[in-house]
Symmetry: D2
Subunit: 344 residues, 4 copies
């Protein structure tokens, strides 16, 4: 009898946080080892859970899957697993296992399953462009190899050189392991989104980014888009969780206000202005904004990515973005009473 994941696509509701991987001082050095700040990792996981996010996804692009050594990745995963076990054993966590081939991914997935982790956040091998049929086989293969591990499919135009074609969704819905898709690109709630959703239905949510959640929710309801992804939660999740609560409570005016404020806060951030330009500097820009926000201390980028080589105007826009976000955090506290942990 085949094992199955502990969660299904229908269980995926609420906000999935996407924080970076905290780094110790010196992580930017080429000769660094054991760069993961495990104490801050534990604190980060505890705090996000305590503050109310519904799931955590780690080690995607901004989660620095690319720059951790295998040993670091294992320590990090073990620390996360232990922390979750001690505070909320059923809390869903998805850890990135994107590598350059199927077997390395399976081996990392097996490691996660043995740790009792809920699932994996999984992009596709990106040495060369992957066509649809190969993508289908890849996801089928890994799901069959580690059937007890849930999969959040990770799509990203810049990282993988294209989007998941519709034909592939037909395969994904057949796999009980697939419980959500981090939907690609900026077009979260338009035309293509609807069309792809027509092929996935309630099997699993095509998660929009939090700033596009309201229109998707209003159109399709909680059964279809009950979960959104949010890397901004790493700057403190209160506004995003307030949005979730407003949606769930049917408080549309609050949801609109929150969406508007979140979008306003993102205006100066490069990601919404020029996604391809952002993707050249995404890891360092994420480190800069999260450290500036102060909710988590994520340290510096591991090589080859580095804050030092980011053009000054992109840094400036990022700092403006966080200044706005801090103001929104305050407004949310004032108007809705929702706060998150503040580091002294």
């Amino acid at each position: 009898m085949s094992k199955l994941p502990k969660v299904t696509g229908r269980d995926m509701r609420g906000v999935m946080a996407y924080p970076p991987t905290p780094a110790l001082p010196g992580a930017e050095r080429v000769d660094a080892t054991d760069t993961v700040d495990l104490a801050e990792t534990e604190r980060m996981v505890r705090t996000l859970i305590a503050d109310g996010v519904d799931a955590i996804a780690l080690n995607g692009t901004l989660g620095e899957c690319a720059t951790l050594t295998l040993d670091e990745w294992k320590s990090f995963a073990a620390c996360v697993a232990e922390t979750v076990k001690s505070v909320a054993p059923d809390f869903p966590v998805f850890i990135g296992t994107t590598t350059l081939n199927t077997r390395d991914t399976v081996s990392r997935m097996r490691y996660l399953a043995d740790l009792g982790i809920t699932g994996t956040l999984l992009g596709r091998p990106m040495w060369g462009f992957m066509v649809g049929p190969v993508m289908e086989r890849f996801y089928r293969d890994v799901a069959e190899a580690v059937p007890e591990l849930a999969i959040v499919v990770y799509d990203n135009t810049a990282a993988f050189g294209g989007v998941i074609p519709r034909s592939v969704y037909r395969t994904l819905v057949e796999l009980p392991q697939v419980v959500a898709v981090k939907y690609a690109g900026g077009a979260s709630v338009g035309f293509r989104y609807h069309n792809d959703m027509a092929h996935t239905g309630t099997h699993f949510p095509l998660m929009p980014i939090e700033t596009d959640w309201l229109p998707a929710w209003e159109m399709y309801g909680e059964d279809l888009v009950g979960m959104a992804w949010s890397s901004t939660t790493a700057c403190g999740p209160a506004p995003v969780l307030a949005l979730r609560d407003a949606l769930r409570g049917g408080r549309i005016d609050d949801a609109k206000w929150l969406t508007e404020r979140l979008r306003w806060a993102h205006e100066p951030f490069l990601v919404g202005q020029d996604f391809m330009e952002f993707s050249k500097y995404n890891v360092p820009l994420e480190k800069i904004r999260v450290n500036e926000a102060g909710y988590i201390h994520v340290g510096k980028c591991r090589p080859p990515y580095t804050e030092d080589l980011v053009p000054e105007q992109h840094v400036r826009g990022t700092l403006d973005h966080i200044a706005r976000y801090q103001q929104v955090v305050k407004e949310v506290a004032d108007r809705l009473g929702r706060t998150h942990t503040v580091k002294e």
Copy 2:
């Protein structure tokens, strides 16, 4: 004292229809002349106005700006001008003047202004990629040259090799001639949309496609996105106009139902599945679907575009799309009583 257009961005409310240019039998021939079906053009304009659309835009990509000779374009524009004058003199019409350079565009714009046409639908010269500063100068130059003509800025990733960068919007809002933007790509209501809108505000609407209108309207309201564009109106506008009325009347449930039905109808159509593939065959696919719908008789493609060389599966998807659309038309009549003219 400088002349100004008859309309401003704040006047732009409702549905802007984007029909093709009706062609007489033989229009597909290389030696054809005078291929515009002026009788059908007149009937088309009268019918769209009588059926209730709020503006008409002609001679964009699907409106076949590229394949008309200058003489045909002039006859077509004159016929449209005369028809509008006789049935609804203030009805806003925008005719395409996209050419390969500034002076040809100005000369066509002057022709339209002398006909008393409201404005122009205007993309940018596309022989080579146009950078932002050149784009700004281009729009400023043509606006100053023909100040009494309104401009609907036409953006289209596939036709122009990129999107209008945010910096250009800062120039566009300074030009009283610019009254709307046909917003590019599939991402009508996401992140970038909000960011661009933050720079345009209520100066003029960034028009979403009709299937994305509801989420934009709910988020920003009629003052900011009071107008949507719709080429699907050329297949009969009733469902789209029913959506407009539902939005205006605050009947959100109807608006959701209509949006869902319109998106469902578009599922088999290539445009929402793979925009770049669609753009290789967009003109013939539009002809095929409009003729199949039967609301307007638009004839065949003028060369070099041709229905004959479109891959069979794309044609099949288009016919499926129209079969669904016809069903939606019926459902809308049954449920909301809204119909459009049916050709016997």
Copy 3:
């Protein structure tokens, strides 16, 4: 009995010059008319012929096909036709007729044929990406419509969004009107070049740029690549013609030296460093370099293109390029005695 062009692909030997279209003062104005400097046009054609080029191609990208009005294009073509008739009636001239559709191109081709012009330099409609089968029909259609006009097929990755696929060459070799191809991109003498040539053989040359002519000639000989294209001839043709003579004379050492010097002269010019960046500023950069060289006075860019908005470092590189080229001109005069007309 069907008419045929005056030249065939086998006649195409030597250097095809690609000069810009001389502009009168004020040509950069939006309200300018009759911007072509016909006196300089006549002088340019006479001088290029007198100095020894073997063919002239006008009104491609750098030849400003996009920015001339139809009337200007006609005056320019008529002036060129008359000049050629008076000095060298059989001298092959190819004038650009690239437009947005088949019929406009045919109508311009007909105009050229009636003037007695040898042929046309012809790209493809670029409002949207053109697939192979449509390309084949396009070239077949125009060849059949004006059978007495020769065609130099113009390929350019940046302008047309891709290259001519190999399948299309099978159609082109069947058309007696096609006498040469201006081969696309930087890869003039590599892998793909050989493969495409395997399908065209001696029907017509796939013209490399002059700096890649030597390796192509050495590999395939005069029968296959007897002609090269050269826009640099507009800066004075002596070094390029010296290269031709060295190749014809079997003076390989001279040909190598000339190729090396020409490549050295081009090093600071943007085109060889980043072709896609160059294509954003190609027309103004060409005007800048040709005016700097002083062999032809080509005036300013017609709108929307403009020298004013070119980034400073690109201008600087262009001036360096011409300083080097002038040095090469001197070296060629000293070593080989080959000179061209020098304007006082």
Copy 4:
């Protein structure tokens, strides 16, 4: 005192072979371990050396760097090191260490240095597009970290989403570890090649593919382009080595004949027709052609790549290519007496 590699850029002369990594039966399975056929690896290395290639580069794209597990990669490298040591201790071998980050690459480079391997074939991390300044830091960092290991820089438009910009070459020439560049794309001997070479000079060769070697050699001579890369050598190296000998011996007619025959043999192979399409199927197509040629037995693709999902026409073209290549092998034996080992 800092250690330095055993070779310099000036030592790089001749043909660098690029064979795949031999796979045991069952290598295509997701649960396979130890898939490297070490016996065939040893035979392959011995045979290539005995047959006369001048260097071997392993574990690039076609060399399957992406799909080996770390353990397999280590066994493979150790087997190669031992084989070389026993037959030709100074024979230069370069083994791929491209990973997703700097530290993993350094750690693999350290492993190679400890094995006594000459150098590494090194692309750049490809999770996201890497800008020039990051590229410079990356190569400088790894060179400083393992100074005794030589580096063959690996460029590939499809794998890395762009080419090495000229500015980066200025850094590469300062690093004594960099001994060659596998030059990117199809444009091996054109414009950009010359310009890049102007910045690298005799520091190290920008290696062209073998079919473009002759024109590069004729233009620049052995001092600048004394070495070419050739994955086709994995189908038996005799024709490529005959070309090398003809170039060295100044037998230009033979070199031309060989280049022409090699290009002819490659005509049906997808790589020269559509490089981006080829890059979707490059690993399986390489396996197919090498196995068909029979010089090495490389087995099946490791997952996710697979021969099963390659479109039939691409397979057919590959088989045609090898049929032609086998004919060329025979012609070379007949005309020049050069042969390679034939497996019974």
